[in-house]
Symmetry: C2
Subunit: 527 residues, 2 copies
């Protein structure tokens, strides 16, 4: 029997509450929950909303098997009425409706991102799974977007955090949502397999250190790229180039690591079109770089285009400048134009601060590989979305609290994004669902959520209804593509277009101007 | 067709390297990798080794399907030799041997925890998956052990981090390994279902705020616990008690929230044996606590034992003291002994620092629920295990680096734990596998890894061989139980017994004395 039937991980108290609702005959009462977070992550001015697609898949298949129900019976108090378990067995989301911000949208703290309406017991049961699916997806997508903003549009970004991720699935989720957030490539083969994300990678240090002498290189020959079938002895060819490179760079032949040269040669013979070794297993300047140049020049002589190098330790900026200088020197001295387009990949414990440093210090890094800090979101490893009841049977519900910031805004709402004359969003407006929507060109009074509660007047140049119906009475209401890579591409494009319209002052990674989220001011409203 | 076949998530470069080894005819060469981490997590003096069991399951089923291989063909360079893919299709771990520290053992930085030996291409391919399975499991288990040390043996610890975990599977892994690390309970139903971990939970604030009046309570009656079938009107009974409680506590009846009282009553009627509400949805002292006392006293009158309360906001220490004072007051005033054994659960963004505070400040919290800081390991969200090649074809391999601390210790090793006369481990000793093991009572010379390299002499009172063969030529070599909960229990017991022997100076959570890891000093050794 499959052990993985429990629809999705969730918390026990959802079931004890569902039981109490059911016991009181309240389980079918129409209820509305809102999902939102209280603070933008990473001290930034925005977040990206992600995970919706997974939520919809979860809602569509939400159901408990016999085995699930038997387990629940064994952990709920023994005095539970047995009829409740028949009720659980028959549950699904056919009575549930979700109104949500689209996947990949720029969003802000305190804006209700999803509104989940349906029978009280069912929408309560959905809480943990929806939070779990949105929280980390949104967090890691936002983190990736920050890396992308820090990197600028030109530099390639490679996600390579799988080994440091919080569990195998954490790694897969990270690969997927960092791609949506702005990364180009992943090292994670499963993410490529499942979602069509472009994968990249060549070799680790272990490959280099596994070689100790040129005798381990086999085969030792390569044919030219032009189709000539003559086998050329690549070792001899490279040895010749190595001598010339050492002369040119003033490198000491005695410090060249033979094992490293063997590793490079062996890899070049295996993949002559994809030569991109890691060059810091011993010493970049004394061994890795001369070895690379020699093998790469030999490949060029045979008509191949070597791709570049990876640096994985030390001061990446300083080293990349030196490596580029040597590439130019070789290119000019030996008249090899392919050396102009070699790329330099940097991958040493890169953080958002490292990216900022790359913008300040001279460097020649074309592709940056990011692992731990990207996938685990070191500076803030959770987003903190919450799921709060705002209405039951048409009546607004609200929670006070011993912590004032945990108090919720009651009632079912509509959410509008107000744009200025330049097309930049400047305010997200929460209205009660029953209130008329704001109109472009017309002033309206509102008061900002948060500390400063003075009401003020604003006139939007454009009004966007921020949420849409994505799940109506059990039916997924947005475009569903069977190809996961098309979905991925759509979400990735949405992130970039949504970020594009945001004013740079809100996108600043450090001390951004805070974006205003306001309640419509209505004299007649009272709670 | 199943889309989930790719054996486990891994990095592309494992395959490009495997190809290059295969192309050079080196794929069958015997190779040895070591898995270790470079720094103890959380600024502490130790870590716990976890994830081995999952590694063994992974190794046992390691294989590529036709679909996997087709995908790999599509992402590897097009000039790859097609025969390689047949080789991949036939791969398994029948040639692999793993020598490992047992699951749940206290371990230290720089000690090789697992030694993976086998054909070069295969053991290389295992890297990412093994790291991914060990890194987070060990990290979160160590984090849980720190919470347990901070909590002391008496307090109950509840893991409730699922909604903030890094993906659904991250949450499941967290529930499992925090239980092994010392937690008693989880809120995660899937973890209970899959691993038999005891689950706990009663109600959220949304349950409380979903009620607005006593009219929503249904049924309104309860029978006594003694088997008398007469239905007693619990609302009237509770109203009577509420008046007396308000008098006793000097609480204003006008500030009592009727909806909260209705929620408590409804829950008590549903689960009279399991009454443990959250009492801070509005105000603990003005409403939640009097409401709880009234319902609990009514339950007691009917012969039930209410269980306690949960506090989820504000100053938990101060509030718990006040709650306990009120419980005692009620107990004495109304002569209700059951109020002596009520428990207080605290659950407000608990961190390791909160736990330390609980030890310093007066409080009455019996059970602590921990979420975000536990499962995401906020203060250090990744462990940083690495997997380094130490031997190929019987010859030691070593990596230098631009970062000196990344340099590895070459050669296949044996690892011994030396104990002092009181049974406390005081030194982990790395020897070459070919060197004779240290003997109890005999002095030996060694030099510590790290900055201070002066050799010194030590005499162990006892010597333990730290690792054991757990996977031999494809066969799992340690006890395999079919019941996952037995495995879990064994690992949990191992953690506590392993921690028990560690001297308190190494277990201190802040500024522990660092544990010594040394290399055996041999005059004849040279690299």
């Amino acid at each position: 029997p499959g052990l993985n039937n429990m629809a999705a991980p969730t918390d026990l108290y959802q079931f004890t509450m569902a039981y109490a609702y059911w016991r009181a005959g309240r389980h079918q009462e129409p209820a509305v929950f809102e999902l939102f977070f209280r603070d933008n992550p990473f001290g930034g001015g925005f977040s990206l909303f992600s995970g919706l697609h997974d939520c919809l898949l979860f809602l569509r298949s939400f159901r408990f098997t016999d085995e699930d129900v038997e387990y629940l019976r064994s952990v709920l108090p023994p005095d539970s009425d047995p009829t409740f378990f028949q009720f659980l067995r028959g549950l699904d989301c056919s009575g549930v409706t979700v109104n949500s911000v689209p996947e990949g949208t720029v969003v802000f703290a305190r804006v209700p991102l999803m509104e989940v309406a349906g029978p009280l017991a069912v929408v309560q049961l959905l809480e943990t799974s929806l939070l779990c699916l949105v929280n980390y997806a949104s967090l890691v997508c936002s983190n990736a977007a920050r890396f992308r903003l820090a990197a600028g549009p030109r530099r390639k970004l490679l996600e390579m955090g799988l080994r440091r991720a919080q569990g195998p699935d954490g790694g897969l989720t990270a690969s997927r949502y960092t791609h949506i957030g702005g990364f180009d490539l992943t090292s994670n083969v499963q993410a490529g397999f499942l979602f069509g994300i472009p994968v990249a990678g060549t070799m680790a240090h272990s490959y280099v250190t596994s070689f100790s002498s040129l005798e381990e290189v086999w085969p030792q020959t390569l044919v030219a790229a032009n189709g000539n079938r003559d086998q050329v002895d690549l070792i001899s060819l490279t040895k010749g180039w190595l001598g010339r490179v050492c002369d040119l760079l003033g490198a000491e032949p005695g410090k060249i690591r033979e094992g490293e040269l063997a590793a490079f040669l062996s890899y070049a013979i295996a993949y002559p079109h994809n030569f991109l070794p890691v060059i810091d297993s011993y010493s970049v300047s004394c061994s890795g770089l001369p070895n690379f140049c020699a093998v790469a020049l030999a490949l060029c002589e045979l008509g191949y285009r070597p791709r570049g190098v990876r640096l994985d330790s030390g001061d990446l900026c300083r080293q990349s400048v030196n490596v580029r200088r040597v590439f130019k020197l070789c290119s000019e001295h030996f008249s090899i134009s392919a050396f102009h387009s070699l790329i330099i990949v940097g991958t040493n414990n890169i953080s958002e601060q490292s990216m900022a440093e790359f913008n300040k210090r001279e460097n020649e890094i074309d592709t940056v590989g990011v692992g731990t800090h990207l996938v685990t979101c070191t500076s803030q490893p959770s987003l903190g979305c919450v799921y709060k009841l705002v209405e039951v049977r048409g009546r607004p519900r609200m929670k006070f609290s011993e912590d004032p910031e945990k108090t919720t805004v009651p009632g079912r709402k509509a959410v509008y994004r107000l744009l200025d004359t330049e097309g930049h969003p400047f305010l997200d407006l929460l209205c009660l669902a029953v209130e008329p929507p704001p109109k472009a060109g017309l002033p309206l009074n509102c008061y900002p959520l948060g500390w400063d509660n003075a009401s003020h007047s604003v006139t939007p140049a454009q009004v966007i209804c921020l949420r849409q119906d994505v799940f109506t009475k059990g039916q997924v209401g947005i475009a569903q593509h069977r190809m996961r890579d098309i979905i991925l591409y759509m979400h990735k494009a949405k992130v970039q277009s949504s970020l594009q319209t945001l004013h740079p002052r809100h996108k600043r990674l450090q001390e951004p101007d805070s974006y205003t989220v306001s309640l419509l001011y209505t004299r007649t409203r009272c709670y």
